[in-house]
Structure formats: C-alpha cells, structure tokens
C-alpha cells in the first residue's frame, strides 16, 4: 500500500490523502505514528492538526479524529511524512493506535490556524499538558530560529503521561516538569510553576496545548502578568474541516463581540484572553447570554 491523493485542489491549503503508516511505536502511555502524507507536510505549520478517519469506507465509526501535528518532514526518504502522538482514549483512537506499518489511513490536513509567531525576539514559555506537548517542539525550533529564548514546561498526571521530555531538553533553553503525583519533576500543576518562570525569564508570550483547565489557568496567569497567551484548544469535532458546526466555542473578537466560532476553522489556537472560559463547566459549554444570537431569556 502506498500513499494516494484523494483531494488536493489548487490554493485550498489542505489535502485529503490515503496515507501509508510508516511507523507506530510506543512512547510512554502514547503511540507515535509516522504517516506518509504527500502534499500535507509541505504546507503545515506548528499548531495545525490533522483529522484521521477510523477504518475504511465501511467502518461504523464515521467521524474523524483530530490530532495535533507533532512534526512534519517535507522531504524524507519515504517522501513527505507527518507525525502524530495518539492516546488511546475511546474506540476510535484504540483502533488508530493499533495500525501497523504498511496500513492505509485517510488523513486530512493541515487543518485550522497554527500558533502565531511574535515579530520580535521575545522570550517565550511553551506549556504542554500530557500529549498536548506534541506540537510544541516544532514550535520551539521555529521560535529559536527567530531569536526567541524558549522555556518548555511539561505537565501530566503521572510520569508515563508526559510526552517529549528528552526532546524538550534538545530544543529549549530550559525545561520544567510537573506531575500531579510527583512521579517526575515537581509535584503539582504547570500553573504552580508558571508565575516564577514568567518573572525569571521576562516572557512576553505563553503558548499552550493541553486540557481545557490548564489552558484556562495559563490564560489567567498571562493576563495577571500583562502578557499574551496563545492556546490550542480541544473541542469535540465530528469533521475537522468546518462543515458540521459541532466544534464551536464562545470566543470574543477584537471588538469584544462573542460568537460561537468553529474551533476547527478559526482555531484551534486562540488568544487566551478571548476565550469565554466561564462558559465551560463540568464537561459542558453553555452559550453566554451576550453571544451573538444567544437564546432569549425564557418567556
């Protein structure tokens, strides 16, 4: 089985390919998949993601699964490859993490908007929760190329759910690790170490990817310090390409107007201070009363 292009329209900025699985290896609690994806790696940027189909055209799981792009290699030995890091969460990711080398999997990408890069060489702190660190190393390299000093903070519940500690040491000027249970690094949350780190490095931008709770607290910390947070969110997605309207969340625009925006299209990276975090609670997100088109108070 070799990779095959299904759709690649000129100027679309996204391709649909039947990718070939080049490798699938264990990394702690996760699987690291390398996929041959012609036309995708060439146009991807850190923070963008790919949407994979589960099984073939007869699978009973119809919806695509989204994964941050960990790395791309536009011109490897096997052609352009895309790498992702997958946690087996439910039935779809269980099936994807079992894919063997040589298997075929439908991939769409790159999707969404990536992390915006600062125009000045300001110090940056990159925060990854669990597999959320996957896109950060590639981002770190690009920031360092622009002269930005880079600190990486990795946090997870337990040591085996940390991803990329060794890689972080290679690409960053400093690395801090936290775990909830203290099985690696400092015991506690990434938000516990951030204020000191911001003070020490004089960071101008925080970049984050991980669970919503983590993104919310880092956005609050950024605001407290008068700096910007760019966070890559994770909302349940059915298509990943902007056609289903399931992945929406309340985000304010530059005029302060809140709309329910598609996180697969306008995100997944948002400015932390624009996300209406207070709308999220206990696994639900309610439409803020001031959002455009919000339901009127009941009669």
């Amino acid at each position: 089985m070799s990779a095959r292009t299904i759709a690649a329209r000129e100027g679309a900025g996204v391709v649909q390919v039947d990718a070939e699985v080049l490798g699938n290896s264990a990394v702690g609690a996760y699987r690291h998949l390398t996929l041959v994806t012609p036309g995708l790696a060439e146009i991807a940027r850190p923070g963008q993601f790919v949407a994979l189909a589960v099984g073939d055209g007869t699978s009973s799981m119809l919806l695509r699964r989204s994964f941050s792009i960990h790395r791309v290699s536009p011109a490897g030995t096997y052609g352009a490859t895309t790498e992702i890091v997958v946690a087996a969460a439910g039935p779809g990711t269980q099936e994807l993490t079992r894919l063997e080398a040589g298997a075929s999997v439908s991939v769409i990408g790159p999707l969404g908007k990536g992390f915006p890069l600062p125009s000045q060489p300001v110090p940056c702190i990159l925060v990854g929760g669990g597999y959320g660190s996957a896109p950060l190393f590639w981002l770190a390299e690009q920031l360092r190329e622009r002269g930005c000093p880079v600190e990486i903070v990795l946090g997870a519940a337990t040591a085996d759910r940390l991803f990329g500690v060794v890689e972080a040491r290679r690409v960053a000027d400093g690395v801090t690790v936290t775990t909830d249970d203290g099985s690696a690094g400092t015991q506690g949350w990434v938000s516990d170490v951030l204020p000191d780190l911001i003070a020490r490095t004089g960071a101008g931008v925080l970049y984050g990817c991980g669970p919503m709770g983590m993104l919310r607290s880092m956005s609050a910390i950024a605001s407290d310090h008068g700096i910007v947070a760019q966070v890559a969110v994770e909302e349940a997605m059915a298509c990943g390409v902007g056609i289903c309207m399931t992945c929406v969340m309340p985000v304010a625009d530059q005029h302060g107007t809140t709309k329910m925006v598609r996180s697969c299209l306008e995100g997944p990276v948002f400015r932390g201070d624009r996300v209406r975090w207070e709308a999220f609670d206990d696994g639900l997100c309610r439409v803020p009363a001031d959002a455009v088109g919000a339901p009127k108070e009941v009669r």
Binding site: A7, Q16, A53, L63, V241, I243, C244, V248, K259, A291
Partner: protein
C-alpha cells in the same frame, strides 16, 4: 485532484419540478456549511445543487456543547440551527455561491410560519437570486406557537408554513418541503404539503435520539435529545421514499419529485433511494467522513446504473415499485 469523470453513457440529468440539474447529487442541509469549506475538496459548482445550512431571519448562536455524539454508523446532533441570519447569509454566502456559478438550494427555517415566509422573501428578492435553483423548507424545526412541537409533525402547521412561503416564491422556482420521519404517517404529511403547493419533497431529516454518557450517567448532549443521521437511518429513509413514491404511483397523492436523503455513503446507497423513488440524492453525514462524498457517490451511482444496462437515471427512479409484487 479528483479523478476526471469518464465521458458518460448515462444521462444523469434531473428534472426537479421544471428546473434541470445536470446530475442528481446534492449536499444535505447543515452537512456542508455554506460551501467554501467543502470547496477546498471538491468543486461544489459541479454538484447537481448545493444545499445550504437552514437559515433563519436573525443570527442564531445554536446550542452549547457537546452538540454531537457518535453512535453506531451515525451520530446525534443538536446544533440548534446556528447561522448568521438571512441578511448576512445573502450578502456573504449566497453571494459567494453565486460567484462560483453553483446551483443553490436554499434551506430556510423559522420559529413561526411568517418567519419562514420572511426568510424566503429575502432570498428570492436578493440580487443573487439567479443562483437559486430551489427553496427547501425545513419544516422539521420547533414551532414556537405550538409549544415547540416541530412543524413537520403537525399537518396543520406544515400546511400553514408552505402556504405562506408559496406566496413569496416566484413561479418557476421549485419549493421543496423537507419532511421529518418522526411521524405516524409520512404519506399524510406529504399529501398535506403537496396540497399546500410544495413542488417536491426532501426525505428525510434526522430522527430523534438520546445518548447517555455512561461515565457521567447523564445525557451526552447538552440538549439531551439530538437528531440521528448517517447510515444507521438509511432503511428509514428508503422506507419513507418507498411509501410516499408508492402513494404517488397509486394516485393516492399528487405526483412530485422526491429528493432522497438519509444515510447515503456510497453509490449503492444512493441507488437504493433512487430505485425506491428518489429523483435526486443528498449526502449529509457521510461528508464528515469523506468531504468528497457528494461528488464520489455521484460517480459511483452513474457507474452502477451503467453496469445495470440503463442509459438514463430517470429510467431507474422508482423502478423497485415495478419489480415488486405484493
């Protein structure tokens, strides 16, 4: 790039109540946004028609999340008709579809019968009206005046909506009524909307379901109930088309073209609906799996029809009724 279609031996064109479409393939409302996103994968102007997301008079935020749950061979959704309102829809979305030369079926919605009519008026009087191939009236939305019961489940409300919309729609522009399968007798509703002036029927919208999150032991969707779609509902769609086409053929209700929707993922699925009586086909949920599906299914359907020795799609429409002896 999508493979070039080989020169066809099958006439795939469709007469949709007087409007000629080059092929039967359509998107399904709410499953292709308003075109731009899908246009990155296929040329939506090549489809028989592009069906837009149901639009109301004013902007609608839709519901909170989770809005969807995956279910076996399908999904539940409770988007809540999120949309920009008809004015922005016309200026941004219809304008764009017009600019690429798409044939557009505009899906309209409302909380009251007069809202439907107002939305229809704004669309047909807009400067992009020439792109509109038909109006699809999504009567499967809650009727504020009737305790939120969906119009499509009540013949009198359905009749009122269609009557008011018909007054706004110019002659020659077909008006399709989109029916809900969640009724005791779909033939009765079909009869009602055709008597009220509908020129065609789209069948089916989603059917109501609930999924429980067994970890949290509460409904998965923020709205509790959602619409079930995807291959899981295909037999219901084939049944609805079968019953209504059967009633038309028996002369029990007025004859009108049927647009089949519900669970179409492959050419074979489309052929089932065609043989049951559909003249055109919409592909909805399957596009979330494969955004090229509306175009791919058309190619597959054409191939299957050719393999069976037919030269015209219209010769296959409803053929299962001829080959069935009760």
């Amino acid at each position: 790039m999508t493979a070039a279609t080989p020169p066809s031996s099958v006439d795939m064109s469709v007469d949709l109540a007087g409007v000629r479409l080059p092929n039967p393939m359509m998107t399904a409302s709410g499953c292709a946004a308003n075109g731009r996103e899908m246009h990155r994968f296929i040329d939506v102007a090549q489809l028989g028609a592009f069906v837009t997301k149901s639009v109301k008079a004013q902007p609608v935020s839709g519901r909170g999340t989770p809005r969807m749950a995956e279910t076996p061979s399908g999904m539940l959704n409770s988007i809540g008709l999120q949309g920009p309102g008809v004015q922005a829809f016309v200026e941004e979305d219809l304008a764009w579809l017009h600019s690429i030369g798409a044939r557009v079926v505009v899906s309209i919605a409302g909380s009251t019968a007069s809202e439907f009519a107002n939305v229809a008026r704004a669309v047909v009087r807009s400067r992009y009206a020439s792109a509109v191939a038909a109006i699809e009236v999504n009567i499967s939305c809650p009727n504020v005046a009737n305790r939120g019961l969906v119009f499509a489940c009540d013949p009198a409300s359905s009749h009122k909506v269609m009557t008011l919309v018909r007054e706004e729609v110019p002659r020659g522009l077909p008006m399709l009524a989109k029916l809900s399968p969640d009724v005791t007798d779909i033939v009765e509703i079909a009869d009602t909307v055709l008597k009220a002036g509908a020129h065609g029927l789209t069948m089916i919208n989603t059917t109501l379901g609930v999924a429980i999150d067994v970890d949290r032991l509460r409904p998965h969707l923020i709205a509790a109930t959602g619409g079930l779609s995807g291959p899981a509902i295909r037999p219901m769609a084939v049944r609805a088309v079968w019953q209504v086409a059967g009633a038309m053929r028996a002369g029990r209700i007025k004859t009108a073209p049927i647009v089949g929707a519900g669970g179409v993922r492959t050419g074979r699925d489309a052929l089932e609906l065609v043989a049951a009586g559909a003249s055109a086909i919409q592909v909805g949920t399957a596009a979330f799996n494969d955004p090229t599906a509306p175009e791919r299914v058309g190619r597959e359907l054409e191939q299957l029809i050719a393999e069976r020795g037919f030269t015209r799609l219209s010769d296959v429409t409803g053929i299962a009724h001829e080959r069935f002896t009760p």
